[in-house]
Subunit: 240 residues, 2 copies
DNA sequence: ACAAAAGTGTTGCTGGTACACCCATGT
DNA sequence: ACATGGGTGTACCAGCAACACTTTTGT
């Protein structure tokens, strides 16, 4: 082991250029819901190694930007979206994960409304893929996707982030179907309604669905203010 | 914006050395319990910028190792521990977080048994600090510590990782005090016992505490096998 | 009229919380 | 005997799950 690596801190090593041999990137797992299934936005790889395979949208980290900034930049530059729900999930640093060199990537979970994305404007190789149908991807991106899907499944049960996937106004049916899609289970309609109402997070906007070929349902919005109030109350429910 | 950064993937850029100007590190937030309060293992910084302040134990990522490997190496080389509970928490990539250059660090949560750590053997600047007493640290390490503490608080309620902080055999009192320390709340003793017993994760080892100046309590171990069985049953409890 | 989904209430069970008394050990 | 904490049981309440019928709209 070199002396350099034995030191208490990193100063001595940082002065040497030999340690600056890493590239860092962010990769965004951009989820959306088309009303039927959960989808993820991918780009076709043009690397020879991964001919025809898809990869996540990402980019190299710039010298002057933060990880979070980089993830927002990817959404902005490559998808044309700002003010997106973005949350860091995990970093992947296997030294063989990228064919062209040592790249450490940090995965971000993005939840967008599918109607906000205009693929024709962003052109070319971007497309939505049903999450359940994806078998292989470029690099280790399938692993990253799976990891983010699991995090999504956990998080929608802990925080009301699922609303980022719906339009401002939605029916209870929309909401339930989306929960069921993501979690892969079904709920009793009546109990689901009761539970959601008792959270106090849904505001009845006083309008109804239109253009449905059955009795139209009421439309709701997510009540941010109510959630901010509720959040303060501590959550404790010891159990593994 | 350069053409290079507009490309669909990262190949072209990776070939150039200009993108390999980052250093990556891991920093371990090593928690332990001394029977009274939650502690974290820190090292005194010898950087002039951070004279007298403490920092987490970390090291630069080597060209040939994974992030997880690096975190285990830190525990092994600097604390003399192997087979430690280690879990990635978050990466921190602010471009001004390190005075000597651009370092992206990935924080790991480590849970160890305090008796396994022999500070005298590791020598010098390592020491345990009560988590609640720490006001400032070198770099952005206070932020990292706070983040990891929050993750710890959440995780001990979701998974039985708390046992990593106790000895193999422990009394219910030990376990309850530790929960209370970490979460900063108190539990009713009788309800706590019932709840833990109903999980089926505690095995009565048929022995009692010794050297206590009151009625000795039974000792238990964590039942890994039972947990593996239980884990299979899916957890769903929609609520935010 | 029929199909499709909206909307609504009750009951039983389970799990959480609040709470009080007796027991074993060391001093 | 006293102090300290171990060990146990009960009663109430809230939240969840299971379950069926009526209503509204479009075709």
């Amino acid at each position: 082991m070199s002396e350099v690596l034995k030191s208490n801190n990193k100063t001595s090593e940082l002065q040497t250029a030999t340690n600056f041999q890493f590239a860092n990137s962010v990769d965004c797992v951009i989820f959306a819901y088309d009303g039927r299934v959960l989808k993820v936005l991918l780009i076709e790889s043009d690397l020879p190694d991964y001919k025809g395979q898809c990869s996540l949208l990402g980019d190299l980290l710039r010298p002057d930007e933060d990880l979070a900034e980089a993830s927002h930049r990817v959404l902005s530059e490559k998808v044309g979206l700002t003010n997106v729900f973005l949350e860091q999930v995990k970093s992947f640093g296997s030294f063989k994960r990228h064919p062209s060199g040592r790249v450490i990537t940090t995965a971000y979970l993005a939840l967008v409304n599918i109607k906000d994305v205009q693929l024709n404007k962003m052109g070319n190789a971007l497309s939505w893929h049903a999450v359940s149908k994806i078998n292989s991807m470029a690099f280790d991106h399938k692993l990253i996707l799976d990891t983010c899907l699991q995090v999504l499944q956990r998080k929608i049960q802990e925080e009301p982030i699922i609303f980022n996937l719906l339009e401002k106004r939605f029916s209870l049916r929309d909401l339930q179907l989306l929960f069921e899609q993501i979690l892969g289970i079904e709920f009793d309609r009546r109990n689901f309604r009761k539970k959601l109402f008792t959270t106090g997070l849904l505001t009845d906007v006083g309008e109804m669905e239109k253009d449905v070929k059955h009795r139209p349902g009421k439309l709701y919005t997510f009540n941010h203010e109510a959630y901010e109030q509720i959040k303060k109350k501590s959550f404790v429910g010891i159990l593994f």
